[in-house]
């Protein structure tokens, strides 16, 4: 029989998370610090709106770009939270999670050989989506000493005449790093000078601690060269609803909608009705969850300090990214041994790019009680490693 597989697809690396997931699945009594989704249920009033839409028999398709009501709410939200003005009819589309928007944007914009700058450690899908769209990923390594922020010098050094897009993944999964206004201004200057477009993945924008998120699109001269990607998963604890959106220049959104219409048709209708409710009446829920995350974030940082695990202070998302280099083992080895010896699952930093080596990702999307139990085990493990280290 012929080989029916696509070389491009076969050539893609399987996700490092997937590999680790298989290991963890063998151990059903393990406690996990490995999830990338909120521990909260979707607030009831939002769920109820979804149920109500089903009861009303709203089980049809919506228009390709999404429910008009929802697009209007998205525009209001972006205005209210980021000071951005978009036209609901032309500049916005509703997608199946932020992940679809990433895929659509890259496919709509890349020609074979176009280079895409991807800062890492970061979410797992930018590189494969870029490859599937025939782009050439160019990795920029974010550094702990820079608080995992993207520096203009790094950006400048990575730009070639083939560079077309910069992916800007902040607040960042897995590091928890953010970009403040001044950081973004420095980046924007380079982007405008070199005529480069930005894919700004702001899915964690509601989860910043101590300062408000700034969207790069809100800086002068940037809106016309930015696609803002966001969604409902993290802010409203709606991961399973699979709903996100993209906002940007209408000529790009138009092309994205074309692919979306053939590949997806439209985002799930039930989810879209629920999301309208989330945007209209969900601010308090977001604030309540943010406050809970912030408390846990502080708790974990303190725990890291107590067990002398060096850890950069994250200001966003719901992860900490401690440095484990001093134990002289790889991230994967550390994660595997922690799992075997103490039955705690964390994600090796390398799942988010090679430069994640030497770090692990710990999620704080867990109740304080769960965190306490898990952290006491991590502390025991680290204590043992230190003792052994001291002995030899």
């Amino acid at each position: 029989m012929r080989n029916f597989l696509s070389d491009k697809c076969v050539g893609l690396k399987p996700s490092g998370i997937r590999k680790f997931f298989d290991v963890v699945s063998e151990m059903p009594d393990a406690i996990s610090l490995g999830v990338g989704e909120p521990d909260f249920d979707t607030p009831w009033h939002i769920r109820e709106e979804g149920i109500y839409s089903l009861e009303r028999g709203r089980t049809f398709y919506t228009s390709n770009a999404g429910l008009k009501e929802l697009k209007v709410e998205v525009c209001r939200y972006l205005k209210r939270r980021c000071g951005l003005t978009y036209d609901a009819d032309r500049d916005v589309m509703i997608t199946v999670g932020g992940s679809e928007a990433i895929d659509m944007a890259l496919r709509a914009m890349l020609n074979p050989g176009d280079e895409v700058l991807i800062p890492q450690p970061s979410y797992v899908s930018y590189e494969p989506c870029c490859l599937l769209a025939d782009g050439v990923p160019v990795i920029i390594e974010l550094k702990e000493e820079d608080q995992f922020r993207l520096k203009p010098e790094q950006l400048l050094a990575a730009i070639t005449e083939r560079t077309k897009i910069l992916v800007l993944p902040f607040p960042n999964n897995p590091t928890g790093g953010i970009m403040e206004r001044a950081d973004l201004e420095a980046i924007a200057k380079v982007l405008i000078e070199k005529d480069i477009f930005v894919l700004s993945d702001e899915i964690y924008s509601e989860l910043t601690y101590g300062q408000e998120h700034v969207s790069i699109a809100s800086l002068p001269g940037m809106k016309e060269r930015t696609i803002v990607i966001n969604g409902f998963s993290k802010a409203y604890a709606m991961t399973g609803w699979r709903l996100g959106y993209a906002a940007g220049p209408s000529e790009i959104i138009k092309q994205m909608i074309k692919i979306h219409q053939y590949a997806i048709m439209c985002a799930p209708t039930t989810s879209q009705y629920a999301a309208v409710e989330a945007m209209r009446n969900g601010d308090e829920d977001v604030a309540r969850m943010r406050e809970a995350y912030d408390g846990r974030r502080r708790y974990l940082l303190h725990a890291m300090e107590e067990m002398k695990l060096e850890c950069f202070e994250p200001k966003g998302a719901f992860y900490i990214f401690p440095n484990i280099r001093r134990f002289g083992m790889s991230s994967e080895e550390f994660a595997n041994r922690l799992l075997q010896e103490e039955k705690v699952a964390v994600v090796p930093g390398t799942a988010f790019g090679d430069c994640g080596e030497g770090f692990i990702r710990i999620s704080y999307a867990y109740s304080l009680e769960d965190l306490k139990e898990a952290i006491s085990r991590v502390a025991r493990f680290v204590g043992r490693l230190d003792q052994r280290g001291a002995a030899c």
């Binding site: 393990a30 490995g34 521990d39 408390g295 699952a345 769960d370």
Partner: protein, 160 residues
């Protein structure tokens, strides 16, 4: 600061003082002082345990009684309420707007205890015009906590 402390304590009054301080980005002494001050100011009035008696062998009858009264000269609602809430077995007393005046919640051991309280003590008070007693059949949620359900984390163990 105070609001944050209260929100945390309201959910879990047994939270470790050290954890509480860490989570609020403060120190133990400050938080302890703040709590002590709020106790003094009667903002924090007590620390109770939420018990789902249904899961014990204890038989308990909970009754909600609507009470209509006529306040008399020199004896407003507050005075009347006091005469009612002084009884041991009275768990809760609220002054209400609408069709009746007080909600009295009674935590009795038996049906007989409840009915004795209503007939012997409550309805014999001079100002009480009428009472209407409702028995609680099942408690679903109390103090923001769902009693019936034990939640289990059903998320996948590792996700990106």
């Amino acid at each position: 600061m105070r609001d944050k402390i209260l929100r945390m304590l309201e959910r879990n009054s047994r939270i470790d003082l050290k954890d509480l301080a860490v989570m609020l980005g403060s120190d133990e002494v400050t938080v302890a002082n703040e709590i002590a001050q709020m106790e003094k100011e009667n903002i924090i009035c007590g620390y109770h345990t939420m018990i789902n008696w249904e899961n014990t062998s204890q038989e308990k009858v909970i009754a909600l009684i609507e009470v209509r009264v006529t306040p008399q000269r020199g004896m407003g609602f507050d005075k009347l309420a006091e005469r009612i809430y002084q009884y041991e077995e009275v768990e809760t007393v609220y002054l209400m707007s609408g069709g009746y005046d007080f909600t009295v919640i009674l935590d009795g051991k038996t049906l007989r205890e409840v009915s004795q309280f209503v007939s012997d003590k409550l309805s014999t008070l001079e100002s009480v015009l009428s009472t209407s007693t409702h028995f609680v059949l099942k408690k679903y949620k109390e103090h923001g906590t769902v009693l019936a359900r034990k939640t289990k984390d059903e998320r996948m163990l590792v996700t990106p």
